[in-house]
């Protein structure tokens, strides 16, 4: 009982401090992790096993952590090292790609292909945002896409706000389509032993269907706002995609590495190569092919986010080991009366509402043990609840300006350029699209799996 109170207190204080942003969030989770290890496991439970299980170092030395042909790769709770290594690997790859101008080239290339016309730009940038976010973190996608959008808006004299908003939404939607698109999916996938193809054929199908619906919605919502003002610019002023490339050789190598990563991820269930292996392999390949730029690339990797994950997994491990998450699962089962449709609806919509206001990563990490327990008690395959959790956390984050990292970066870039986007504007335009996708997701899961 004391251990449970301590674990919940640490979790609640950690969550509260993350929201206030007074202290860097990685410091908060690392302190929370230290307190969980010392107070919850050490003093209250006096269990070295709980500490060892939560730190989960042994997982890295198991062969199936790297190669798991014919069997499901899954984390045994505690620190999810597969997520951390995969994220680190992807960060190195993305830094390598950004260094040579890949993302800027791609954005300007697409703009050139549609002859710098506003409505085709609006539509293609939405699709590109969704596709890129399937393989690359949504922050990077928005960082480049929104920057080019704002640059083009100055040149073509249109209001960039509708485009930035739709790019943000589509990046979050695209991220929900694959295992590596959004951090909650990486955590869900590695924790439950799901493959890239599992996500693509389930959440990917929902995201694809939803993308068509939201493109139609956004087109009718914004088509009048995208009118250009004044005389058309001189075509000589249009940015040239070639000028975006800072190193031609590096550009070709980065593109090949990116395509290789995509192929390895799509085929990982068949090849048996785990996401941990793919992350480490792609990172090493990026570094080996750019030896002179290793310090520069490594310096730009976001270590704070990786440390945030490490701390978070330990704190959630505290809730798991003390049985708190079983109580939460039991509570959901009780209020749903064991009704499967209600359980799925609760998982999707509660995840979505929570993710609209708080970081969806700790929420997803906390909910995985809950849905695992729920699946057993209500008699449904865990994957069904995994898709519900994935869509809820990934899409719910789109509803408010603070719900997901892509929203923060996109609205920040717009505001820095003199186009502030307040809560009212953001929610009036984006929350209905969020609700639309959540309805599609709920109905899809009902029809396909029940």
């Amino acid at each position: 009982m004391i251990a449970q109170i301590a674990a919940v207190s640490i979790f609640v204080v950690m969550f509260g401090l993350i929201i206030t942003e007074k202290i860097e969030r990685y410091i908060i989770t690392l302190i929370g992790a230290a307190l969980t290890l010392i107070v919850v496991f050490g003093l209250c439970m006096q269990s070295l096993d709980a500490i060892w299980n939560t730190l989960n170092f042994a997982a890295i030395f198991r062969p199936d952590f790297w190669y798991a042909v014919g069997q499901e790769e899954s984390s045994s709770g505690g620190i999810n090292w597969a997520t951390i290594l995969f994220l680190a690997g992807m960060m190195v790859m993305v830094e390598g790609m950004a260094r040579v101008g890949f993302f800027r080239w791609l954005c300007i290339r697409i703009a050139k292909l549609v002859h710098y016309k506003t409505i085709p730009l609006f539509l293609t940038f939405m699709i590109m945002s969704a596709i890129l976010a399937m393989f690359i973190d949504s922050i990077t996608v928005i960082l480049f896409l929104a920057a080019v959008t704002i640059e083009l808006s100055r040149l073509l004299r249109f209001n960039p706000v509708p485009m930035v908003l739709t790019e943000i939404f589509c990046a979050n939607l695209g991220g929900s389509a694959t295992m590596c698109g959004d951090p909650p999916n990486i955590i869900i996938g590695t924790s439950l032993g799901l493959s890239f193809t599992d996500f693509l054929t389930n959440t990917g199908a929902i995201a694809g269907l939803s993308l068509v619906a939201v493109i139609v919605y956004f087109y009718f919502l914004f088509r009048k706002d995208l009118r250009t003002e004044g005389d058309p610019p001189d075509p000589k002023d249009y940015p040239n995609p070639k000028e975006a490339i800072t190193n031609k050789r590096g550009f070709i190598i980065s593109t090949v590495i990116f395509l290789l990563a995509v192929v390895l991820l799509i085929t990982h269930a068949q090849t048996g190569l785990t996401v941990s292996f793919i992350g480490v392999f792609i990172a090493l390949l990026t570094l080996v092919t750019a030896p002179r730029h290793i310090p520069e690339i490594l310096k730009r990797v976001d270590y704070r986010t990786l440390l945030f994950f490490v701390g978070l997994f330990v704190v959630v491990g505290g809730l798991e080991q003390t049985g708190i998450l079983d109580i939460v699962a039991g509570f959901i089962k009780d209020i749903s009366g064991g009704n499967l449709m209600l359980v799925i609806t609760i998982v999707i919509w509660v995840s979505a509402i929570a993710s609209a206001f708080v970081d969806n990563i700790p929420f997803a990490a906390t909910m995985i043990p809950v849905i695992t327990e729920l699946a057993g008690t209500v008699g449904v395959h865990i994957n069904v609840l995994a898709w519900a959790l994935s869509m809820g956390t990934d899409i719910g984050g789109s509803a408010t300006p603070i719900g997901a990292s892509a929203n923060v970066v996109g609205t920040s870039l717009a505001a820095k350029a003199g186009h502030p986007i307040g809560w009212k504007t953001y929610c009036l335009k984006i929350a209905p699209a969020t609700v639309l996708v959540l309805i599609i997701s709920t109905l899809f899961i009902f029809v396909r799996y029940l």
Binding site: T20, E21, P401, S405, V408, V409, L413, H419, G422
Partner: protein, 199 residues
Amino acid sequence: MTDQLIIAVSREFGSGGHFIAEQLAKTFQIPFYDRNLLWELANERNLDISALTKYDEVPKRRLLSRKVRGFNNSPEENIARLQFDYLKKKAAEGESFVVVGRCAETVLRDHPALISVFILADEQSKLERICRLNNLSPDEAAAMIARCNKQRKAYHNSYCPVKWGDSRGYDLCINDSRLGVDGTAAFIEQYIRKRFPQL
């Protein structure tokens, strides 16, 4: 020594600081920036002014914004920083001007041409001025003064290490109830001429 002069005027609501700043701008024949700083910025960059003005000198709402990898999406903070950068650019280009509020005393703190002033006033004189200018009852005026000063304080203190109105953050802190608006402006003019004899 250059001829550049930057006067940063911070003020309590109702103190008449705005009028003093305007008078100083006229005396030294230099541009006066208040709300119009945003108008100029919007004009120069072809921005929608109505979207910007609602965030002018408004304190940021912490729980309604987030920071990710150094990107903060608070509209209030971004518009404030846009103005700070614009002021720094003007100062770096050698422009002389009078600026009211906008944390200018902190933003331009290291600029050699800066004179920073904080204008305060007695409660009664603030109350009379606000009643007269806005046609309000004393109670309404008192509430307005309290609300506006609270907002200015919160706005200033989110971006500046020295608190709003703390004498350590300004060259001069003056209660203009003693000399009146004209007298205080004349006094500040004397101080400036003493500091920068070349003007």
